[in-house]
């Protein structure tokens, strides 16, 4: 088995004005995903909006603490799952349950974790 991080990205403005109907569809997607993935989900979480983010960075100096996300982009990381799957195809198949993959303003990025033997 391999570990994959599923990163759910979306447009925050769209997210704030989302209709109840779309919200229900997204919730249903997560329920379906969790049901199907079962104990292959190792960790998961929904993130607070990027206005709540704090970034530490510096160039060789002591890192400065600043307000805001690491990158200013329209699509931000809104949530994640850390799962176990046999291969990429299985990770993709599971991700298809998430309603975010069907909307133009959101999507899921699948990244394999480095495999330490």
């Amino acid at each position: 088995m391999s570990k994959y991080m599923l990163l759910i990205y979306g447009d925050e403005q769209q997210w704030e004005t989302i209709s109840a109907e779309d919200m229900a569809e997204i919730d249903a997607g997560h329920v379906a995903f969790q049901k199907r993935a079962g104990d292959r989900i190792l960790a998961s979480g929904q993130l607070e909006p990027s206005s709540t983010a704090t970034t530490l960075r510096g160039d060789g100096e002591a890192p400065a603490v600043t307000d805001g996300p690491f990158l200013e982009t329209k699509e931000v990381l809104g949530g994640f799952y850390l799962i176990e799957a046999a291969d990429l195809d299985e990770a993709v198949a599971l991700s298809r349950e998430l309603a975010e993959v069907r909307h133009a303003h959101s999507g899921v990025e699948i990244k394999p974790l480095v495999h330490h033997g």
């Binding site: 046999a86 291969d87 990429l88 993709v92 198949a93 699948i110 394999p112 495999h115």
Partner: protein, 417 residues
């Protein structure tokens, strides 16, 4: 008289993919498998001249490559356990294919290899490059030449793709029924791209690259034999219907001959018949795919006894259907040309002018060439000269340049007369 060297070359063309696919089963790692297969062909070159060509070259090569792979695995087993391996379905067990040239499992292995190379999680460029390299057995230098990039660029692209296959664990298997439509389309796309690159080489001295065309037709055949569904049937139909005209597409000097000047008695009738049968099969198997519609257009040309007898109305309407399935600027251009053939060059020019705003066509050599041809037919010499000059600037293929230069000289003479 064929020599052992010819036999190795023939075995390379015919069995590279099968031998590699069988070896990947053992190594579960593409790079190692490739090395073992290369070793096996090198050993064939060394031993076949003295020991004779084996009765079953494919089985011989699979055995030698397989032994080499097992050898490497034994030697490096500790180190290898730490490596990411190409995933294989646990249920996939096949008989050891040593006693016949084409056991059924081998064909299935090749299909797995094709689907692994054309996985939708790889970029389109990577899919084409990997297919040519791993399934068709072209060298990295040859793949680079076919796609107009530096060999180092292509080598990096192939390495990156192989790394993603290993790190993201792209499985080595034929997709499930649920995934099949998307995957078959990706594979068909790649095969079609290999074919178009081979039949209209964008650079080089010849218009047609026989090696690429041959590889593409071979892949389409394999795909259709193994997955007789609508899309591969339509693709194979299209490739055969176009390839049937190969002998007449260029003259003795390798220069392009336009459809209207081709000697139709040289068209390959067997290929045309097979293509039309496959087209019928494809249309019966499901809703029309873009390849089936393109094949239908090629079939209208193939069935016309003369250029003048071509049913241009039918072709224009088929392009309408095609544009709904595949709204590409190049399809619009082809439709504009067909419209000009149906309604006359003025109508053709109006249709082409409407496309001038398409950014994708701004530097497309065939747009200028098509305008030049309509202007020539109308006797608008100065405008035709300009259009031919434009087309010449945009083309890098020597054969096409020679053709356009000849036409330009003709229109210049008419202008002066």
């Amino acid at each position: 008289m064929s020599t052992p060297g010819d036999a190795v070359a023939a075995a390379h063309r015919a069995h590279w993919a099968g031998v590699l696919a069988a070896t990947v089963r053992i190594t579960r790692d593409l790079d190692t498998a490739e090395e073992c297969v290369q070793d096996a062909y090198a050993q064939a070159l060394r031993t076949w001249p003295s020991g004779g060509v084996p009765d079953h070259p494919a089985a011989w090569l699979r055995t030698v490559a397989g032994n080499r792979a097992r050898d490497l695995l034994r030697r490096e087993s500790v180190w290898r356990r730490a490596m990411p391996l190409l995933v294989e379905e646990a249920t996939a067990t096949a008989p050891d294919p040593q006693d016949a040239d084409e056991p059924p499992a081998v064909a299935d292995d090749t299909l797995r290899l094709i689907f692994t190379c054309c996985h939708p999680a790889l970029s389109r460029e990577a899919r084409v490059a990997l297919t040519l390299r791993l399934v068709c057995g072209l060298s990295t230098a040859e793949v680079a030449r076919a796609f107009l990039v530096q060999e180092s660029t292509m080598a990096a692209r192939i390495t990156r793709a192989k790394k993603k296959i290993a790190a993201a664990r792209i499985p080595y298997r034929v997709p499930t029924a649920e995934e099949l439509p998307e995957r078959v389309s990706a594979v068909c796309d790649v095969v079609h791209l290999v074919f178009t690159t081979g039949s209209n080489a964008p650079v080089g001295e010849t218009l047609v690259r026989d090696d690429l065309v041959g590889s593409a037709v071979g892949l389409a055949r394999t795909l259709h034999r193994l997955l007789p569904v609508a899309e591969p049937a339509g693709l194979l139909a299209l490739l055969l219907l176009i390839d049937a005209r190969r002998a007449t597409r260029t003259d003795d000097d390798g220069r392009p001959v336009l459809l209207e000047d081709q000697d139709r008695s040289w068209w390959d009738r067997e290929m045309i018949t097979e293509g039309i049968d496959l087209l019928t099969e494809s249309l019966r198997a499901g809703p029309p795919t873009r390849y089936a519609v393109q094949a239908a257009i090629a079939a209208v040309h193939a069935e016309a006894a003369t250029f003048e007898a071509t049913d241009w109305s039918e072709i224009v309407s088929l392009y309408d259907v095609l544009l709904r399935l595949w709204p590409s600027p190049v399809v619009k251009l082809n439709q504009a040309v067909a419209l000009g053939m149906r309604d006359g060059p003025e109508a053709g020019l109006v249709a082409l002018d409407r496309l001038a705003a398409e950014p994708a066509l701004a530097t497309y050599r065939y747009l200028s060439a098509a305008r030049a041809d309509f202007l020539r037919r109308l006797g608008q010499w100065p405008e035709a000269v300009t259009a031919y000059e434009e087309a010449l600037v945009l083309t890098d293929n020597e054969a096409e340049r020679a053709f356009l230069t000849r036409r330009l000289a003709e229109v210049r003479r008419s202008q002066e007369a």
